[in-house]
Amino acid sequence: MWSIFHKLGSPPWLYKISGSILRWLLPITVAALAIGVAWGLLFTAPDFRQGNSYRIIYIHVPAAVVALAGYYIMALAGAVSLIWKMKIADIAMKACAPIGAAFTFVALVTGAIWGKPTWGTWWVWDARITSMLVLLFLYLGVVALYEAFDNKEAASKACAVLSLVGMVNIPIIYKSVDWWYSLHQPASIKMTGGSSIDTSMLYPLFWMIASFYALFACCMMLYMRVEILQTQGKTGWVKRLASQGSS
């Protein structure tokens, strides 16, 4: 058990293992996404009230789910980086920020596009949507804050603190549809009790959520590999890697 943690803390090991995982995980993820998109777009029946516009659910919900999960990972990595000063945690935190920002952006844009035919407006300053916009700014804030410091150790500390403080936004996002009167519908999928969505629509949605998680994992590894090379550029193993050619 401890040896796994020990290995996880080693950038050369992580670089090597992520390369071999990505070789099969990335093509499988892209294929799973293509299947899920075709399933949701072409093979499910339209919603009885919303018509075909509801098909946006198959990207909007998975993107929002992964955007939130990404924040947990970023804050957790930030905490580990602050407490134990683990290099890999620092690299993971930095990798999460642009990926999380991209998924939050997708959730917001697809939500706006879905809102127009459903609510009659692209945007409302509704609790759920506004708290998701705050999430986007938190992610972008971490990216900008890291770039603003010349001393990267201080940058990491500041980013870890920002991501931990930003955690306060996460329960607000989850509960916003229950706490405030909102245009945004409450959750259709419930862990306890029945879901208010038909199984023929639910299965492709689960498929897409799983595919988006796999996509997040792939992106994490891709961004972490770049970070590892950038921070370890002067070390012997990276020089050996460069002299052998890219792997």
Binding site: V37, L42, N52, R55, I59, A102, I113, L215, R225, S246
Partner: protein, 58 residues
């Protein structure tokens, strides 16, 4: 398949513009998320190789 023609799938009963544009934007963003770090990784390795070659020559 739910739609019986290509134009039916494209139009989606008047919602085609919304649905397809949402998917298109997602595809573009996701492609960038995959391509940009891959390209950056290659650039870093090439730059390191260049630096190593210069060191060998000097």
């Amino acid at each position: 398949m739910y739609f019986d023609s290509l134009s039916g799938a494209l139009q989606m009963g008047g919602h085609g513009g919304f649905v397809w544009s949402a998917y298109l934007i997602t595809v573009v963003v996701v492609s960038c998320l995959i391509i940009l770090p891959k390209r950056k990784e290659k650039q870093i390795i090439l730059a390191l190789q260049g630096a190593l070659n210069r060191q060998h020559r000097d």
